[in-house]
Amino acid sequence: MAQISLRQVEKRFGEFQAVQPVDLTINDGEFVVLLGPSGCGKTTTLRMISGLEAVTSGRIVIGDKDVTWMHPSDRDIAFVFQLYALYPHISVRKNITFPLEAQKVDKATIKKRLSMVTDLLRIQHLLRQRPGNLSGGDKQRVALARALVRQPAAFLMDEPLGALDADFRETMRAEIKRLHIQQGATTVYVTHDQIEAMAMGDRIVVMSAAVVQQVGTPADVYYNPANLFVARFIGSPGMNLISGKYADGIAHLPGNNRLNVPEPWRKSISNQLTGDDIMLGFRPEAARINGQGALRAEVYASDLHGAYNMIHLSLDEEQDEAMAHVRSSRGLNLAIGDQAAFDLDPEMIRFFDPHTESAVVLEA
């Protein structure tokens, strides 16, 4: 297996900048997810690593080889697409062993590797069938088996679960991750689904508008988003973001609410804000509705999500944006129009500069 390095890798299509220069090192055995909305450059980045797309500038190194100008087939990688890309007219067995036969691998090795991947993916019983007769999930397993059997230096996966229905995505998500843990193969995985990225990635590369917004572990991007884009994109719903003004340790928020900014943040805010505009950020589980809460709002809607309730609060009905979504236990039942008071877990409060869109970083 191998490390993958991107050094100032950039892609332009004529005038259009598809990927701004990016530096990224994917460690040997790591599972890295490229995450972002459609058009953000994540698939283009993956295609440059695979060699299906040429870089406009920069270098790509896999292991100790500079592969920037190598043909895809010389890069020792396996690509798994959203579409199953199986040969419909030959058996599952043949579909899986075909890449090995093309590489002239000897028969005994082929047999050994075939039995290993079919055990791993539990598809022994499908070997004689043709892909056309298989369910979506089984097809995806066969496609994975075909990638695995080659034992490449790295796996590149482009929304491999995109075509599956929701239930099955959950199952396959766990299965691919389990496979990764057993095999330890360096993997770059593209998705637009933040839940998938969080669940699977050792690290996540969040992209938007051709620019890498943040690289971090799931905990990093969830708890400490680098900017407003990441704060909104990660989480379901995203981070609550409330605009206000900052002065003398107090954030003045809509609805005449005042938040006493925790002492450790004050110096960092003063140093980093470009004006007096501030944006308070907190995750839905960071707020606790209780009678004595320091912040006041009106219940806009309240609904059951199965295991928990979500209370949607309006801090100021004149401002559409002044909404907070609060996760609460199922015991808490509030009606639309009720007044609610809430507190925030001081450990989970974050601040952003609305002009630069960057997070305020807590200084030591």
Binding site: P37, A166, D167, E170, R173, A174, K177, R178, I181, I195, M198, A199, M200, P218, A219, Y222, R232, F233, I234, G235, S236, P237, G238, R283, P284, E285, Y300, A301, D303, L304, H305, G306, A307, M310, H312, D320, H325, R327, I336
Partner: protein, 360 residues
């Protein structure tokens, strides 16, 4: 507004029975959701109520009045579809005014203005009135489409997956707004979706359909806490409910291929010898002093919560815990199962109810 009742509705398309003897009533002002997978008969039900299809058997009533022979226009319903059915070359204002200027519902221009002003304020589209709809984003177009239904003040709103073409964040935002609008305006609404989150969050009551049959009707809490069958249990909740083959054994409930023995409460002595045990992931919680041992086989951190796969014998249980779990793959854990929240299903797939009051 209006109550809606379907009585013994059957609808066939050639040899396919799309709806099979379906009956339900929707209360005045209720948000009623039809939930089911593709092909369940949800859209057909909606089209029958709208008068776009004619049932083969049964009757439909609005406020106790049989409307079977009424045309769609006479029924005075407003439909909102997945696709935005707007006139692209008209302004938002003219799109909204269009149904109010039609010969059947003609209103004075003053009143049209007033209604549009009110509706667009609710939907946060008042700043778009002079814009041509072709220049709007997907979310704005769907707001205008919903606005065009609201502005008419119809007897019944019929909505067919109106949010499903929007991206996840927009869908979430508009869902909450729709909930607020419906609950504060109180129009009788029948809403079709295959998305269980939409159903749970929006509905006063949910009707679950499968292959043309009505499977269960109840509040979101009923459907989630007391699913009538394995089908319904799997349809709601993410991650999916754990379904484990189990049996009675020496006064215990034994989960097959595991070492799990749950104490059998007095109240479930009526259980068949073998059955399917359903346990929601949030009802399995690791706990230092927990009752059962297992091994963590996979961890999926989602931010607000973490999905843990816990291996017990040959069974893997899915557990949902708050926040980021401080566990590693391979860790031995002790865990508890909330024994007052177990679901029992017989061989026919239907719920076997155990009397709660007898619980010791």
């Amino acid at each position: 507004m209006t109550t809606v009742a379907l009585k013994n509705i059957t609808k066939r398309f050639r040899s396919v029975t799309a709806l099979d003897d379906v009956s339900f009533s929707v209360h005045d002002g209720e948000f009623f959701v039809l939930l089911g997978p593709t092909g369940a008969g949800k859209t057909t039900t909606l089209r029958l109520i709208a008068g776009l299809e004619k049932q083969d058997k049964g009757h439909i009533y609005f406020d106790d009045e049989q409307i079977d022979t009424m045309t769609p226009a006479q029924r005075d319903v407003a439909m909102v579809f997945q696709q935005y059915s707007l006139y692209p070359n008209m302004t938002v204002f003219d799109n909204l005014a269009f149904p109010l200027r039609s010969p059947m519902h003609r209103l004075a221009e003053d009143e049209i203005k007033e209604r549009i002003a009110e509706t667009t304020k609710i939907l946060h589209i008042h700043h778009l009135l002079e814009r041509k709809t072709a220049h709007l984003s997907g979310g704005e177009m769907q707001r205008v489409t919903i606005g065009r239904a609201i502005v008419r003040e119809p007897r019944v709103f019929l909505m067919d997956e109106p949010l499903s073409n929007l991206d996840a964040k927009l869908r979430e935002a508009l869902r909450v707004e729709l909930e607020h609008i419906q609950k504060t305006q109180g129009g009788t609404t029948i809403f079709v979706t295959h998305d269980q989150v939409e159903a749970l969050t929006l509905a006063d009551r949910i009707a679950v359909l499968n292959e043309g049959k009505l499977v269960q009707i109840g509040t979101a809490t009923d459907i989630y806490d007391r699913p009538a069958s394995i089908f319904v249990a799997q349809l709601v909740g993410t991650p999916r409910i754990n379904l484990l083959p189990a049996g009675r054994e020496n006064g215990h409930l034994h989960i097959e291929n595991s070492l799990l023995h749950l104490p059998q409460a007095k109240n479930n002595i009526d259980l068949p010898p073998t059955f399917t045990l359903g346990v929601r992931p949030e009802d399995i919680q690791p706990n230092e002093n927990g009752q059962f041992p297992g091994r963590v086989s996979l961890i999926e951190p989602l931010g607000v919560e973490t999905v843990l796969h816990i291996q017990v014998g040959e069974q893997t249980l899915i557990s949902l815990v708050s926040g980021m779990a401080r566990l590693d793959i391979g860790d031995e854990v002790m865990f508890d199962i909330a024994q007052d929240r177990l679901h029992f299903f017989g061989h026919d797939g239907f719920r076997v109810d155990v009397a709660k009051d007898e619980q010791s």
